[in-house]
C-alpha cells in the first residue's frame, strides 16, 4: 500500500469542505432547529463559497493519487461552477421549501454531498473513480428528486430518475470493463494504449452512452422532461446546472483521452458524438416549442443546451481547436448554470401550489402563471427576461458569449455544418424563450393569479444570477480568460 502524499490530500480540499458541510448541515438538523431554519441555506452558501474558493485558489497538481485523479485548473473551474450552482440552488430552495413546509437540513446536506460528487467527477482521471463519483452525485440527486415524496408526480419522477440512472450507470460500468479489457487499465490516460480494437470502441461507446444519459443527450433524453417537471423546482435547477456541468467535465476528459488514441477510434467516437450533438440540438429545440409548462420547456431546452455542449466536445477532437472548444464548454457551463437556475427560480416562485401534497394542479408551471408579470412584479419579470435572453443567446448576455465561443471553436475546426445547425436551432430557441416574454410583458394576468412568493432570500439569488448573466455578457474577459487557461492544460 503506497502512502498518500499530503499534497494529494490537500488537492481534495474542496471535496472535503463540501462533505464536512454536508455533515454539519445534518448535525444542525439534529441539534440546532427550533422551527427556524433560515440559517441553513446561508450555511450551505458559506460552505459552497469556501469549496469554490479552495478549488480556485488551492494548488493545482496535475496528477494526484497515482494519476487516478487530477486537480488541474479545468477541474477547479468545474468545481467552482458546481459550487456556484449549489449556492444559488440553496438560496432558491429555501423559500420554496419553506412555503411548502418541507425545509429540512437533510435537503442541504444531500445537495452538499451531491456537489462533492460533482467536484470529484471533475477531478476524475480514471473511469472507476468517475463511476464512484457519478454514484455519489446521483444517489444524492435521486433522493433530492424524491424530496416531496408524498406527491404523485415527484414520486414518479424520482423513481424514473433512479431506474434510468441505474441503467446508465450499468452501461457506464460495462463500458469501463470493456475498456479495461482492451487497454488493461481504467486510467483515462491509458485509453490510447488500447489501439483501435472493436473492444475498445465498444467500451468507449458504452461509456459515452452512460454519460449521455446523465447530460440528457438525445436519444438518451426521454427521462428528462418528466423528471425535471416532477422534481421540486430547486432540485430541478440544481440537477440541470450541476449534474450537467460535472457530467460534461468527465465526458470531455474521456473524449479527449480517446481522441489521443488511434485515428480509427477518434473517427468513430467523433462521428458518433457529432450525430448525438445534431440530434440533441434538433430534438431538444423542436420539442421545447409546443410545451405549455415553462418547467417542461426548460427541461427540453436543457436538452438543447446539452447539444451545444456536445458540439464543443466534438470540436475538441480537432487538435487546433481544442483549447477554444474546451474553454467554450467551460464558459458555457458557467453561463448555463446562472441562467438556468435563475429561470427555474422564477418558475418556482410563481408555481401554483396545491393545498395538500396530494393535490397537484396540472397547470402548476404553465406559461399562464407568468401572464402580466411585468405589471404585477416588474423586477421578477425583468430577471426572467434576462434569463430568457441569455438562454436564447441574444447579446449582450452570458448566453451569447457562450454560444459565440462554442461556435468559434466549431468554425475553427472547420465543422461548418455543425455550426450552422447549431446556429439555426438556436434561432428556433428564440421562439419559445420569447413566448415566455410575450406572456410576461404583453398579456394580461389571469383574474385570480396570485402574485407569487418572492422572499428576500430569493431576491438575493435572483439578483446575483442577473448580475452574473449581465457581467458574463458584457465583461466576460475574467471568466473567459480563466476558462481559456484552464482549457490550456488539457491540450
Amino acid at each position: 500500500m503506497p502512502t498518500v502524499p499530503p499534497a494529494d490530500l490537500l488537492a481534495l480540499a474542496p471535496v472535503a469542505i463540501l462533505v464536512l458541510g454536508g455533515i454539519a448541515l445534518m448535525l444542525t438538523e439534529a441539534f440546532l432547529t427550533s422551527g427556524r431554519r433560515r440559517y441553513q441555506a446561508a450555511l450551505t452558501v458559506v460552505f459552497a463559497a469556501a469549496a469554490g474558493a479552495a478549488a480556485l485558489l488551492g494548488p493545482h497538481p496535475a496528477r494526484i493519487f497515482g494519476g487516478q485523479g487530477t486537480a488541474d485548473a479545468f477541474s477547479a473551474f468545474v468545481t467552482a461552477t458546481v459550487c456556484l450552482g449549489l449556492a444559488l440552488a440553496a438560496l432558491v430552495g429555501a423559500p420554496w421549501l419553506e412555503a411548502r413546509d418541507a425545509e429540512r437540513g437533510e435537503f442541504y446536506a444531500l445537495a452538499l454531498f451531491g456537489t462533492s460528487g460533482m467536484a470529484l467527477l471533475g477531478m476524475a482521471a480514471d473511469l472507476l473513480v468517475a463511476f464512484i463519483s457519478i454514484e455519489v452525485m446521483s444517489l444524492s440527486t435521486y433522493a433530492l428528486a424524491a424530496w416531496m415524496r408524498r406527491g404523485r408526480k415527484p414520486a414518479e419522477a424520482a423513481f424514473k430518475y433512479f431506474i434510468l440512472g441505474a441503467f446508465s450507470s450499468a452501461l457506464f460500468l460495462y463500458g469501463t470493463s470493456l475498456v479495461y479489457g482492451a487497454s488493461g487499465s481504467t486510467l483515462l490516460s491509458d485509453i490510447g494504449k488500447g489501439g483501435s480494437t472493436a473492444l475498445l470502441v465498444a467500451g468507449l461507446v458504452l461509456v459515452a452512452a452512460g454519460l449521455a444519459f446523465k447530460v440528457a443527450a438525445v436519444p438518451f433524453h426521454v427521462w428528462t422532461p418528466d423528471v425535471y417537471e416532477g422534481a421540486p423546482t430547486p432540485v430541478t435547477a440544481f440537477m440541470a446546472a450541476g449534474v450537467k456541468a460535472a457530467a460534461f467535465a468527465v465526458l470531455a476528459r474521456t473524449a479527449l483521452a480517446a481522441f489521443s488514441g488511434a485515428p480509427a477510434t477518434i473517427g468513430w467516437l467523433a462521428g458518433l458524438l457529432a450525430i448525438l450533438a445534431v440530434a440533441t440540438m434538433l430534438v431538444g429545440n423542436l420539442l421545447a416549442v409546443p410545451q405549455r409548462s415553462v418547467k417542461r420547456m426548460l427541461a427540453y431546452s436543457s436538452i438543447a443546451h446539452a447539444g451545444y455542449l456536445l458540439l464543443g466536445v466534438v470540436v475538441a477532437a480537432d487538435r487546433g481547436a481544442r483549447q477554444e472548444a474546451l474553454s467554450g464548454i467551460l464558459f458555457y457551463l458557467a453561463s448555463y448554470t446562472v441562467s438556468a437556475i435563475g429561470a427555474f427560480a422564477v418558475v418556482g416562485a410563481l408555481e401554483r401550489q396545491g393545498r395538500t401534497p396530494a393535490d397537484e394542479p396540472d397547470d402548476a408551471c404553465d406559461v399562464d402563471r407568468l401572464g402580466g408579470l411585468a405589471k404585477r412584479r416588474p423586477l421578477l419579470a425583468f430577471a426572467m427576461l434576462v434569463f430568457m435572453l441569455s438562454l436564447a443567446g441574444v447579446p449582450p448576455t452570458a448566453g451569447f458569449v457562450a454560444k459565440l465561443l462554442i461556435f468559434k471553436a466549431a468554425v475553427g475546426a472547420a465543422q461548418y455544418g455543425l455550426a450552422i445547425v447549431g446556429m439555426l436551432t438556436s434561432a428556433l430557441g428564440a421562439y419559445y424563450y420569447l413566448r415566455v416574454v410575450v406572456f410576461m410583458y404583453m398579456r394580461p394576468a389571469a383574474e385570480d393569479e396570485p402574485a407569487g412568493v418572492v422572499s428576500p432570500v430569493l431576491s438575493v439569488a435572483l439578483a446575483a444570477a442577473v448580475v452574473a448573466v449581465v457581467v458574463l455578457g458584457v465583461g466576460p474577459e475574467p471568466v473567459a480568460g480563466l476558462a481559456r487557461s484552464a482549457a490550456a492544460l488539457l491540450r
Binding site: 474553454s327 411585468a374 416588474p378 435572453l389 441574444v394 447579446p395 449582450p396 451569447f400 458569449v401 459565440l404 465561443l405 461556435f407 468559434k408 468554425v411 475553427g412 461548418y416 455550426a419 450552422i420 446556429m423 439555426l424 438556436s426 434561432a427 428564440a430 421562439y431 420569447l434 413566448r435 416574454v437 410575450v438 410583458y441 404583453m442 398579456r443 466576460p476 474577459e477 473567459a480 480568460g481 481559456r484
Partner: protein
C-alpha cells in the same frame, strides 16, 4: 472617447431612469428628452469635428480597447462619413420621437427606457469597427424593439413582434458564423480593418460569406422577397417604434451592405450584384404597387418603405459614385420623410383612433397645418425637385443609368417607374385623406397641431427643405467613404477581369465625361470619383 460618450450616454440615461419613480411619468418624459437632446448636442461635436478631406483618415474618433482579449474581440469604434451621417440621423431623430411619444400613457418609464436603450444600440451599430461588437449592437436592437412593438403596439402586435424578432434573429445567426469564419481566415482578428485588409479566402468561400452577411442585411433592409415582416411590424408598432424602425433600423441593413458585405467581399459582391439589383428593382415596383391597394395608412407608408429602400439598394448595387452617393443620401431622406410620415399618421390616429383611409376625407380645412406638413412631407417622399427626395432619387437613377452593370439602363428605367407610381399613391393618399368633402361627422371636430406636435414636425420639415436645397454639407462627409468603396470595387473588378479577359468592366461609369458634366445637382459633381471610373 467622444464617440463612446455618444454611444453610451443614452444607456446611462436609461440606467438612471430605472431608479426614478415609475409613478411619475412626467419625470421620465422630461428625463428621456433631456438625455436624447444632450446626446444630440454632443453628436454635433462629431459632425463639426469630422474631417471630410480626401487626405483625412478613413475612420475618425477612433477608440480601440481590448474587450474579450482571450477570444480576440476588441472594443473598437470609429466613424467614416456614412456612419457619421447615420449617427447624426439617429441622434436627431430620437429626441423628436421621444417628444412625439409624450402621449404614451401606459408604462411610460419602461417605454422611455426602451427608447434610450434602443438609441445606444443603434448608434453602436453604426460606430462599431469590430465585427463581434457590431453583431452585439445589431442584435441588441432586437430586444427593445421587440418590447416596443409587443407591449405598446396595436391589436395584432403579438404576431407582428414575434415575426419581427424571429425573422431578423434567424437571418442574423448565419452572419455570426460568417463573422467567425472571417476571424479564422484573416489572421485571427475580429477587427473590421484587419478583416478587410487581411482576409484571404477562396472565391467560393467568399460567395458563401457574402450570402451569409447579405441575408442578415437583406432582411433588415428589407429586400423583396424578405420584406414580409415589415408591413406587420410597422403597422402594429406604436408611432415611436414605426419612426425608429423606418428612420434608422432599415438603414442598418443598407449600411451593412455598404460597410460590411461589399467592402469585405468585393469579388462576391460583384458576382451577386445583378441578382441583388434585380431584386431591388422588383422591390421598388412591388412596394409601390402594394401601396396602391392599401386601406390602412400606416401599412401604405410601410410598403412605401419597401419601395424607397429598393432605390437605396439599386444605388448601392450600381457601384458608381453617383449611385452610391445617392444611396447614402436616400438613406437620410427616407429617415426624415418616412419618419415624418409615420409621425403624421400617428397624429391622425391619436385624433380619430383609426388608420383606415376611408375614415378620413376632406379634413384639410379642419387641420390646415397638419395638412400642410403632410403635403410637404409627401412631396419630399415622391422626390419633387427642391426637396431632399429629389436629390437622392436623381443621383441613384443617374448613377444606375450611367453604370456599367449588365442591362443597367433597363434596371434604371424600370426603377424610374417607381418614382411615378410613388407620386400616384402618395398624392392619391393625400387626396383621399385631406381633400374632397367631409363624409364622417367625427372629422368636423378634429383639432389642428398642438404646440408639441408642431415642435415635433418643424425640424422634419426644415430638414426636408434644407437637404433639398443645400445637400452639399450632407454629401461632403460621405464622399471619401463612397470614393474608397468605388476604388475597392474597381480593384475587385480588375481582379475578376484578369482571371477572365472576356469579362467587360462592370464598375464605375460608362462615359465619365457625361457623368461629371450632366445636369446633376451639386452633389453629383462633388461625389465624382478620383479615378473618374475610367479603368
Amino acid at each position: 472617447m467622444l464617440l463612446s460618450l455618444v454611444v453610451f450616454l443614452p444607456l446611462l440615461g436609461a440606467l438612471v431612469a430605472a431608479f426614478l419613480p415609475g409613478s411619475e411619468p412626467g419625470q421620465h418624459r422630461g428625463w428621456a428628452l433631456f438625455v436624447s437632446l444632450l446626446t444630440f448636442a454632443i453628436s454635433l461635436a462629431l459632425w463639426a469635428g469630422f474631417d471630410a478631406g480626401a487626405a483625412a483618415p478613413e475612420f475618425q474618433f477612433e477608440t480601440k480597447l481590448p474587450w474579450i482579449a482571450s477570444a480576440g474581440i476588441g472594443y473598437h469604434v470609429g466613424l467614416d462619413g456614412v456612419a457619421l451621417l447615420l449617427v447624426m440621423l439617429t441622434t436627431a431623430l430620437t429626441p423628436i420621437v421621444i417628444l412625439s411619444a409624450f402621449t404614451v400613457g401606459d408604462r411610460v418609464k419602461e417605454f422611455m427606457i426602451a427608447l434610450l436603450v434602443l438609441e445606444t444600440a443603434m448608434i453602436g451599430t453604426f460606430a462599431a469597427l469590430d465585427l463581434v461588437l457590431f453583431y452585439v449592437f445589431w442584435e441588441g436592437i432586437l430586444i427593445p424593439m421587440y418590447l416596443l412593438i409587443g407591449v405598446w403596439g396595436s391589436q395584432n402586435r403579438l404576431y407582428a413582434t414575434v415575426k419581427f424578432f424571429i425573422y431578423t434573429f434567424a437571418a442574423s445567426v448565419l452572419m455570426l458564423v460568417g463573422i467567425i469564419y472571417v476571424f479564422m481566415h484573416d489572421g485571427g482578428s475580429f477587427d473590421y480593418l484587419a478583416a478587410r485588409s487581411a482576409l484571404r479566402v477562396s472565391s467560393e468561400a467568399q460567395g458563401w460569406l457574402f450570402l451569409a452577411f447579405a441575408l442578415a442585411f437583406a432582411v433588415k433592409v428589407p429586400m423583396f422577397p424578405l420584406h414580409t415582416w415589415l408591413p406587420d411590424a410597422h403597422t402594429e408598432a406604436p408611432t415611436a417604434g414605426s419612426v425608429i424602425l423606418a428612420g434608422v433600423l432599415l438603414k442598418m441593413g443598407t449600411f451593412g451592405f455598404f460597410r460590411y458585405a461589399m467592402p469585405l467581399f468585393p469579388d462576391a459582391a460583384l458576382r451577386f450584384r445583378p441578382a441583388l439589383a434585380v431584386l431591388a428593382v422588383v422591390g421598388i415596383v412591388y412596394g409601390a404597387l402594394m401601396c396602391l391597394v392599401q386601406q390602412d395608412m400606416k401599412r401604405l407608408v410601410a410598403y412605401s418603405s419597401v419601395s424607397h429602400l429598393g432605390f437605396v439598394m439599386l444605388g448601392l448595387m450600381a457601384v458608381t459614385a453617383e449611385g452610391l452617393t445617392g444611396g447614402v443620401y436616400q438613406m437620410l431622406n427616407h429617415g426624415v420623410s418616412t419618419g415624418a410620415l409615420f409621425l403624421l399618421v400617428g397624429m391622425l390616429y391619436e385624433r380619430r383612433h383609426t388608420r383606415l383611409i376611408s375614415e378620413y376625407g376632406g379634413i384639410a380645412k379642419q387641420v390646415p397645418w397638419l395638412a400642410t406638413a403632410f403635403v410637404v412631407v409627401t412631396l419630399s417622399s415622391i422626390g419633387l425637385p427642391g426637396t431632399n427626395g429629389f436629390v437622392g432619387e436623381f443621383l441613384i437613377l443617374a448613377g444606375t443609368w450611367l453604370g456599367r452593370m449588365p442591362r443597367t439602363q433597363i434596371l434604371a428605367a424600370v426603377g424610374a417607374t417607381g418614382v411615378i407610381l410613388g407620386a400616384v399613391y402618395m398624392l392619391w393618399l393625400v387626396e383621399r385623406v385631406f381633400f374632397g368633402t367631409i363624409r364622417k361627422e367625427e372629422n368636423r371636430l378634429l383639432p389642428d397641431l398642438s404646440l408639441r406636435e408642431s415642435l415635433v414636425l418643424a425640424p422634419m420639415v426644415l430638414a426636408i427643405v434644407v437637404m433639398g436645397l443645400a445637400p452639399q454639407p450632407f454629401l461632403a462627409p460621405a464622399k471619401p467613404a463612397v470614393d474608397r468603396l468605388v476604388v475597392r470595387m474597381q480593384e475587385a473588378d480588375r481582379r475578376l477581369r484578369a482571371r477572365d479577359p472576356s469579362r467587360p468592366p462592370t464598375v464605375g461609369t460608362e462615359v465619365p465625361a457625361l457623368a461629371s458634366g450632366s445636369q446633376a445637382p451639386a452633389g453629383a459633381l462633388a461625389a465624382r470619383p478620383p479615378a473618374g471610373g475610367n479603368d
